[in-house]
């Protein structure tokens, strides 16, 4: 009866799984637990003293493989808080429709202005919903951030033997 034993084995497997707890998560109703490093959308940050962090250096625009970031650089002027001359960005747009979420812009930002947030951008019906203007990027700052920021990544990448400690995870 070697023919029938494997048939019963297969049936036994399916019945055994009948007893197991289903793994379906009711996604829209119960939010899904995400890893601390989960990164979906983008945000621009303010510095501690309230200035906009972005200095309009266009490094992120140059490195973006799918060319979705456009930065409008404004003239250099003193910053009201520190009094020193610094660059400003008067226009910053990021088109999520073609962004491949490669995190290179966060890595190359010298002033840690752009960071990724852990909340996916709400799906929209028009193309504009996926088109993050400067205003929306600054609004996203309130959302929970992903732990990786430019300086922390560069620190963890430096080949010096005393390697920097692993980037500290906020208590997600």
């Amino acid at each position: 009866m070697s023919l029938w034993k494997p048939m019963f084995d297969a049936a036994r497997t399916t019945i055994r799984n009948l007893g197991r707890k289903p793994i379906t998560a009711m996604h829209p109703f119960e939010p899904r637990v995400r890893a601390p490093r989960y990164r979906q959308s983008f945000a621009l940050l303010h510095e501690a003293n309230g200035d906009e962090a972005c200095i309009g250096c266009k490094k992120c625009e140059k490195i973006c493989p799918s060319e979705v970031i456009t930065v409008g650089t404004a003239a250099k002027r003193e910053s009201p808080a520190t009094g020193k001359k610094r660059g400003w960005a008067d226009d910053f747009t990021l088109d999520l429709q073609a962004c491949i979420v490669c995190e290179l812009c966060v890595q190359v930002c010298p002033v840690d202005a752009i960071v990724m947030v852990r909340v996916p951008n709400a799906p929209g019906f028009e193309r504009e919903d996926l088109f993050l203007t400067m205003k929306r990027l600054y609004e996203n700052e309130a959302l929970p951030h992903a732990p990786a920021i430019g300086s922390s990544m560069i620190a963890s990448h430096n080949p010096a033997p005393a390697a920097a400690e692993a980037p500290k995870e906020p208590a997600a």
């Binding site: 060319e67 979705v68 747009t93 088109d95 429709q97 073609a98 193309r127 088109f131």
Partner: protein, 153 residues
Amino acid sequence: MIGPDAVLLARDRFGLESSDLGPTLPRERLLEFARALYGAGYVYLVYISAMHHPAAKQGETEVPARYTVVYRVRDLARGLEFPFRCEVPLGTGVPSLAGVWAGADWQEREAFDLVGPVFENHPDLRRIMLPEDWEGHPLHRDYAINTPHHPWR
């Protein structure tokens, strides 16, 4: 590891020095070399690819535009590998190796389709990636370099 017997074969019968990129065969003797390699046990075809060089000025000599067709084969039993290549000016074709390795058929069709060298007496030389009626070969160095990147918005 570069196969020593192939290096000897290239030097003795064909009088070609082979660097780590392999010898550069004249197109007339390519088929003969390929059959010799196959006979020596190199039955595993890794890939066939091509590269386009636009016309360039080396010093004052005018180097015409040419294709470099690159081959790489392996002998799995002895764990040996042997790359070789063939340089051809733009107009002329390269003899097809589909008769020697069965896999060369599709490899050459892709090289012809994307880069452009024509493979003579290939059993079925059609474009494989692009539609049949596509004109031009995308991987030419001067193919659609500065087409405006249509703004996403």
